[in-house]
Amino acid sequence: MHEISLHNVKKRYGTITALDDVSFDIEKGEYVTILGPTGSGKTTILKLLAGLIEPNEGEVRFKGRRVNELCPEERDVGLVFQNFMLFPHLNVWENVTFGPHMRGWAREKTDKLGRQMLDLVHLFNRALSYPNELSGGMQQRIALARTLTPGSKIMLMDEPLGALDARLRVELRYELVRLMKGLGITTIHVTHDQEEAMTISDKIMVLRRGKIEQIGAPMELFLRPRSIFVANFVGESNFIEGIISEIKDSFLKVELKDGLTVVVPSVDGAALGERIVIALKPENVSIQKGVTKGINHIQGVIERRSFLGTFVKYSVRLETGDLINSKVLTLQKDKTLEMGDKSTVSFRSNEAVVYHHPKDGVRRELEVE
């Protein structure tokens, strides 16, 4: 029996369809991220799970039981907001013990839980402070403690790290997942940041325009994205278009332009002469100075070089006209490639992913906003 599930849920706001036939299951103790661009419906899913809104069609189930009609205070689900939403007129202690108070729990029990949760987030010494006296990171931790005190085993988080500085986000994300896992809580975490999603999730659900594009472990979404959108949204991809010139067992020979072919894995329903799209992760694109020949080697010129810290990213204008990115680990001692250098990019066949050409074109398919 699944801990949380949605069955064929549809949600409309006036004429706008926010969620279009969404179904998924989440198991107990899983840390699941819902990943998607703004407006894809992620927050709507959270609100449905919390009971703040009701679906137009479909069912929300907790432990197999339908909960559509249950109001939020009866669902025993924790909700954490991007802007923390700490009650400004109450101090930290009052905020953190708010849940138990509302449920009328005994004083002793409430105090014990409050103390426990504040210790967990290392902020017991600020119990009497008011939210506006705390830094962003601290407010975030208090917001967490507050949702944990009632003891809910399901936690919903709406861009919980979104209001924090980039560096703080990276630090806190590990703390967050460790905290939830340590308490055995099933977590649904909404974000638009795919790096965040990849780092901490057991499963990622990619949402786009109210529909689920793919659900799976980070590795799966990264290495075997089922659609062009997912290929680009999770860990970005390069896209090269070509025409199938030969089909051989499980591989295809694809002609990119006159006389230039590459070998890639086949895809279901591939037909000779068909236009297809090849997706390549920048990490899987190797780059060398000068001209080198071989299978899946393409010539090009470096248009841009960006230093990204761990990686250096090269943007290469290929002889086919496409612009593709190559991400290479920073090696200080080796000769670096400069803008304008002639170079060769190459990739291994089995690292490419192939898709049928979308009817509206690749650009439309990739649209994020």
Partner: protein, 500 residues
């Protein structure tokens, strides 16, 4: 009769129109000063502007009229035998401006606060002088505030009775030259006296009321449409001139003139009554002949009514405010919002009159009840103060991020707990402000009271009686006591709301 009515209506509208325009011209720079100015005494200026709101309008009107129209007031400096102002229309304008100005400033200021000042900064980084930035960026975004301010000022002026009656009396003009509400109030007395003319006066009152209501609604709707559609000339620029006008000197001039206006046209006249009274004392007027019992009775009646009205309206209004703010009434929400604002625009006298008619029509039985008059007054007051609490509270609640409620509910709070623990504490300042405004409004109301039952004597009515008997000194004393007690109660309420 017809000519009297049409004169009354014309006077009402001309007066309200002139007053609103003056309020806007004087109030806009003041709102700017309050909102964008950075100076030490800002909080005090804030409180000063609210002062006239606390004073019951009849007392306010009385003081203002004394200042401008008697030899002891402004005319004192010129050694004039008559008051400085002798024209009744101009006097009425000055009186109305004194009590409607704070409404305009408050509304404009609140609206200004909602506009992100960074838009202007963006404009300046693009090369616009401060004045150009304000004119082309902030003002267009500001229309909502202008509409609200206009409606409030206009509504206040058109509705006002007590101060108008007093002012006319002091300047020696006939009540028949007054505004429409004044006429209605006057007729009510004649109706009570019975006789053959009673029927005629009832019809006249009804007709005038209806006309007032319809014309006011029409005019205000027109104004709303015009202001919303009016294309401000933001395409034209005069860089050099506007840059000059943005300069320090002009800013000082603007601020100085705003302050001078506030002091000269509003504050001094409003509190002149104290000077009048103490001068009277010095001149030997004694307190001996004052009808203390009558006065205390009227005080008691006024405060009782105001208290009942405030409590009842809080109970009725807050749930409605929540409904509107959280759009819980579905598609009815928008029209409901508009409907609720109507009692604010309709002259309270007209409202009171129709209510009186309504209830006495329902059954002679009701009007023969011992306390029928009292009940009717309470009902009338409830009707026209209701919008205050609904508006104030609903805008306060819309300002509270709905996510606070969502957070509370997911933590286990049911809707009632959410209200008690979250909404109420966060909205308390506005709820208190709304309550204070209602209390003050009811306390100061004259027109509706007179229109419903001119035999009942609330303090404003009592003051009118005294002035009609030319007992100016006693009237001044009554005013001062009324002001004093209102002030104490209101300050107490304010302290309570911020102290908790």
């Amino acid at each position: 009769m017809i000519s009297t009515i049409s004169n009354g209506i014309m006077t009402s509208f001309k007066l309200a129109g002139a007053v609103t325009i003056i309020d806007f011209i004087a109030g806009l720079p003041m709102a700017w000063l309050l909102n964008r100015g950075h100076f030490k005494g800002r909080r005090y200026l804030d409180t000063l502007i609210d002062l006239p709101l606390v004073v019951p309008t009849s007392a306010l009107g009385f003081s203002v009229a004394l200042f401008w129209a008697t030899p002891g007031g402004f005319a004192f400096f010129f050694n004039s035998p008559t008051g400085a102002i002798t024209s009744s229309f101009i006097l009425l304008m000055l009186v109305h401006v004194a009590f409607s100005y704070p409404y305009m400033v408050r509304t404009l200021s609140a609206s200004l606060e909602e506009i992100d000042i960074t838009y202007e900064i963006a404009g300046r980084t693009l090369g616009a002088s401060p004045l150009t930035a304000i004119r082309t960026i902030t003002l267009p975004l500001f229309r909502g505030g202008i509409v609200s301010g206009t409606i409030l000022s206009f509504g206040r002026s058109i509705s006002e009775t007590g101060a108008t009656v007093l002012a006319l009396s002091i300047v020696g003009a006939s009540q028949a030259d007054g505004t429409a509400p004044v006429l209605i109030a006057g007729w009510r007395k004649l109706i009570n006296e019975g006789g053959s003319m009673a029927e005629k006066y009832i019809t006249a009152s009804a007709f005038t009321s209806v006309l007032l209501i319809i014309l006011a609604l029409v005019l205000l709707t027109l104004v709303m449409i015009i202001i919303k559609k009016f294309k401000l000339p933001i395409k034209k620029v005069w860089p050099a001139q506007e840059k000059m006008l943005s300069g320090r000197i002009f800013k000082y001039l603007r601020d100085a003139s705003s302050n001078i206006f506030l002091i000269l046209a509003v504050l001094i006249p409003a509190f002149f009554i104290f000077i009048f009274f103490f001068r009277g004392l010095a001149q030997g007027n004694s307190l001996a002949g004052i009808d203390l019992a009558g006065f205390l009775n009227s005080l008691f009646a006024s405060f009782l009514i105001a208290s009942i009205v405030t409590v009842v309206n809080m109970g009725l209004g807050i749930p409605m405010a929540i409904l509107i703010a959280r759009k819980k009434a579905g598609t009815v929400t928008q029209p409901l919002d508009v409907l609720i604002n109507i009692p604010m625009i309709i002259p309270s006298t007209a409202l009171g009159f129709s209510l009186g008619l309504f209830w006495s029509g329902i059954g002679g039985g009701l009007s023969s009840l011992a306390n029928a008059d009292f009940l009717l007054i309470v009902l009338a007051h409830i009707a026209f103060t209701y919008p205050f609490i609904v508006r104030t509270v609903s805008s306060a609640i819309s300002d509270i991020d709905i996510s606070f409620e969502e957070a509370a509910r997911t933590l286990g709070a049911n809707p009632l707990q959410v209200f008690r623990k979250i909404i109420f504490p966060l909205a308390k300042p506005s709820i208190m402000a709304g309550a204070i405004m209602m209390f003050a409004r009811s306390l100061g109301e004259t027109g509706a009271t007179l229109a419903v039952a001119s035999t009942a004597v609330t303090t404003p009515v009592y003051i009118v009686k005294l002035v009609n008997e030319n007992a100016l000194f006693e009237a001044a004393l009554a005013c001062i006591i009324l002001i004093g007690i209102s002030y104490i109660i209101l300050m107490g309420l304010r302290r309570l709301s911020s102290g908790k």
